[in-house]
């Protein structure tokens, strides 16, 4: 899994590629935690290149959602691929995490009441 972080004020874009799973979840958690500790709490995860997420990946995402909301921000997900969306739906994540068609829509959502 590769992670690339960029700023699109006021949003932090976390572009992830590969599989979000037991072997990579810790790296993802560290990336999210680093941003949150630096006060960057409005996060958009670009999932366009994520091929799979397992339970460990779900736990990492949930942790980041909870922490960002506690700090007044949020983690929103963009461009989820169908296979990953099925796992997010099966695990009920689609009912607690805001998901957008693309990064632009996810980033724009922070400027609205969405």
């Amino acid at each position: 899994m590769n992670i690339s972080i960029s700023q699109q004020d006021p949003v932090t874009l976390v572009a992830i590629s590969g599989s979000v799973d037991s072997l990579s979840a810790e790296k993802l958690t560290e990336a999210f935690t680093g941003e949150l500790n630096a006060g960057r709490v409005k996060l958009v995860a670009d999932f366009s290149a994520v091929s799979y997420t397992s339970s460990a990946g779900l736990r990492s995402l949930l942790g980041a959602v909870k922490d960002s909301r506690r700090l007044g921000g949020d983690l929103r997900i963009a461009a989820v691929q169908p296979d990953v969306l099925r796992v997010l739906s099966l695990s009920g994540f689609t009912s607690i995490i805001k998901i957008y068609d693309d990064v632009a829509a996810a980033a724009a959502s922070f400027g609205t009441a969405a």
Binding site: D21, L58, L62, D83, V87, L90
Partner: protein, 299 residues
């Protein structure tokens, strides 16, 4: 190629096959892909129709045999005969009497006969791979993990679809279809210490057209079971440290209840989904083995 029972030192996973009628045949493809990679199955759990496939996998049948079993067991004969007494007792309970332990609108004798013909006296505790079949306790809704006793009887209980088939009494408990407690019971594998779980699950299909009370009931059942599936799966994914790898085949063809002619296609989809996870699975199991080696080296 048949499923390999777990030998010490060999990479292994626990396999959970959820409810999903004939779609559960996708598990055959999952097992085929795992066997071809030399990945053993340390435990198999099956719920509802998934229990049939779990049993044949645990008995060591290969993919071809499993497909033959599907064609033999999964036929329209299962639900073809009405249970007239069940119908009458539902419509006029005072006149005909109503007994929860025998109520079902379909005659379940053909199903029971088929299961007993096929599995005979085989017992859960005698399978090559440890087998668990889940059912639901009719008295309190609790999940019941059947890990000993007659395979045929355990499957009868696990597939005792409410309203269609009568509950089954095992060890003093009245049992109904396992999907009512948990359509994808990964909790059973977690409880037995599974580290890596392959969970083959299916959402119940929603009705395209609802023109009868039966279809109305199927729609309600699908809504409830899908919501239950999601809530249970999310809880177990998040609350435990087992790695749950969900295999959720996406079927472009519509699969109806008795579409056994589509079994090869269903198997293929299951195999395809599993192969897509194989690079990760290999790496994960290697890491698990390395970690286990480090721990045992320290002891």
């Amino acid at each position: 190629m048949n499923a390999t029972a777990h030998m010490p030192g060999q990479p292994a996973v626990s396999l959970v096959i959820g409810s999903g009628s004939v779609k559960c045949a996708a598990a055959i493809g999952v097992v085929k892909a795992l066997a071809e990679e030399g990945i053993a199955i340390e435990r198999v759990v099956g719920c509802s129709a998934g229990a049939i496939f779990a049993a044949v996998v645990a008995l060591g049948y290969d993919a071809k045999q499993c497909m033959e079993v599907t064609s033999r067991l999964w036929t329209k004969e299962l639900t073809a005969k009405r249970n007239t007494m069940g119908m009458l007792s539902a419509l006029a309970p005072r006149l005909f009497g109503f007994r929860a332990d025998s109520f079902g609108l379909r005659d379940d004798r053909p199903k029971d006969r088929l299961l007993h013909q096929f599995f005979g006296d085989r017992r859960i505790e005698d399978t090559q791979i440890p087998l668990h079949i889940t059912a639901t306790d009719f008295a309190d809704g609790e999940l019941v993990d059947l890990h000993h006793g007659s395979i045929a009887d355990a499957i009868r209980a696990s597939v005792a679809l409410p309203f269609a088939f009568a509950p089954v009494r095992i060890d003093g408990k009245l049992l109904v279809d396992g999907y009512l407690a948990d359509p994808l019971p990964v909790s059973v594998a977690i409880k037995h210490g599974a580290r890596v779980i392959i969970a083959v699950g299916f959402e119940s299909p929603y009705q395209e057209r609802i023109g009868s009370a039966g279809r109305f009931a199927f729609q309600l059942s699908a809504i409830m079971s899908n919501n239950l599936l999601k809530s249970r799966f999310s809880f177990h994914s998040i609350a435990h440290h087992s790695e749950v790898i969900a295999i959720i085949p996406e079927f472009s063809q519509r699969i109806r209840l008795f579409d056994t002619e589509k079994v090869p296609y269903i198997v293929e989809e299951g195999e395809k989904c599993t192969r897509a996870q194989m690079p990760y699975l290999r790496e994960l199991l290697a890491a698990e083995q390395a970690a286990a080696g480090t721990v045992s080296g320290r002891q």
